[in-house]
Symmetry: C2
Subunit: 289 residues, 2 copies
């Protein structure tokens, strides 16, 4: 497993691989790896000749009052997890390597980056788009792997790829959950024991929303969102940031449910903001009826 | 000479060429080709296996009150000029192909895009950066060719390439001028006969500024700019938009001349805004002394 820290070295390696007609798969991460990340890695290993995992806690996607400094960093532990997966290369650039002094370029992804999580995290998705564009140009993958847990991120990156004509296939992999339904997230490590017990309320609320649509046939999105909020707030440690039901492609809020839709939520558990989502497909309703 | 209009077709061709280890040279243009463009084409032909000329009048780099609608378009004439140069492919996408409905991504290049021409053309360089990033991802060149006449543009694109890690070498070619010094520009076609006679005042002013530095040893940039403005306004049809003396890399205005510097000017000749520039090198002064 090669460890690469310089952009130039990564580009040289990728250029060589491409000239040998090797397919490169990229799994971009911020480290603090969990089973969700490792699922992306295994998928990339299956589908490509060469898998690169990038580890970079990207400052430009954190707001001034967010958890950039506290975000968990454990490079050694990450490498110990990646090595048995037979990852080919790990790209771990420093912040100065990615954003040297005087750096001023940013990609503005438009309105799709200012709704949902973008509303409470201004600039977040522009930071994501900028670093992902850089990683695509550095690693030159044919495929890049993202988890569905960050649903809006996958839509933003899909738009980035289409609109700037990157020749990269975006592969979205299902959210990996604990036995109690809590989606894997590096931020779960912030939770106290008590908060950890409260956190599955996100998934419970999502499944409840799904049930209202699929089993109860409710089409009034406002009603569903209200019921979900009520359920979330039965948990004393939980405070909903947003509960939205949106179209898959453009993340437009719907009033009347027409499947497929995504139910997307952000909930604070204590001081920790967690997100999760679930896609409700037309087929699910047809299967029930 | 292949004519390609679809992004997908261009990407397929470029992918095939790269898999055959061919070097691709890109000459991005807005058409209305002149000898300046053809110089870029010949340089690309010399240095690459395959030369692509793109022709696209990019709406996103024109302001609402600018000359997007009037900008000269002559695809047939352009192709007649490119064919004898043995250009390999011409990429001529439609506006809908480049910016389909709902398009919202833009690249913000930062302060370097808001000074000089950017001050009177807000958003111009972000539009340039966005379309050039798209063209790089579509054509996948190893080298791209730009004229020095658009000096700030070459600096903006250099920054775009460095900061988003595009693997493209930017080749800047000398400004091509008429016998009277007027820099070749598609916008010269806007000039009436009388205005055409007035237009060489730009180059005269630049050469005068250069002379003040090189021969007269003047180091006070304010003084030089004042003298240049005076010379420009000896021409009744001319009105200076800006006259600036800047560093080459960051385009920072200098007070005291320390070579090398670029002298950059924008002048309205009647209703037509023309730009030009000259780089004054340290060597020039040493040669004189």
């Amino acid at each position: 497993m090669q460890i690469i820290t310089a952009i130039e070295d990564m580009q040289a390696l990728s250029s060589r691989l491409l000239s040998e007609k090797k397919n490169i798969g990229l799994v971009p991460t911020m480290g603090a790896l969990h089973e969700g990340h490792l699922g992306l890695v295994r998928r990339s290993k299956d589908e490509n000749d060469f898998t690169v995992v990038s580890i970079f806690v990207n400052p430009s996607q954190f707001g001034p009052n967010e958890d950039f400094n506290e975000y968990p960093r454990d490079t050694e532990g990450d490498l110990d997890k990646l090595s048995p997966c037979k990852v080919d290369a790990v790209f771990i650039p420093g912040a100065d390597e990615m954003y040297p002094e005087g750096f001023s370029t940013s990609i503005n992804i438009g309105n799709i980056g200012t709704i949902l999580c973008g509303a409470s995290r201004p600039g977040h998705f522009n930071g994501v788009a900028t670093v992902v564009a850089k990683l695509f140009n550095i690693v030159m993958p044919g495929r890049a792997y993202f988890g569905q847990k960050d649903f809006q991120q996958t839509v933003v990156i899909g738009k980035l790829v289409r609109e700037l004509d990157f020749g990269v296939d975006i592969v979205v992999c299902p959210t990996v959950r604990g036995p109690d339904g809590l989606a894997m997230s590096s931020r779960n490590g912030y939770l106290s024991d008590e908060e950890r017990k409260a956190a599955p309320i996100l998934y419970k609320a999502l499944k409840f929303g799904e049930e209202l649509i699929v089993s109860n046939g409710i089409v009034n999105a406002v009603l569903i969102k209200e019921e979900m909020r009520k359920l979330i707030h039965t948990e004393p440690l939980a405070a909903a940031d947003y509960v939205e039901i949106v179209t898959l492609g453009r993340l437009e809020g719907v009033e009347k449910i027409e499947l497929p839709v995504a139910i997307c939520i952000a909930v604070k558990i204590g001081k920790t903001r967690l997100i999760d989502n679930i896609v409700v497909e037309k087929k699910q309703v047809e299967d029930v009826r």
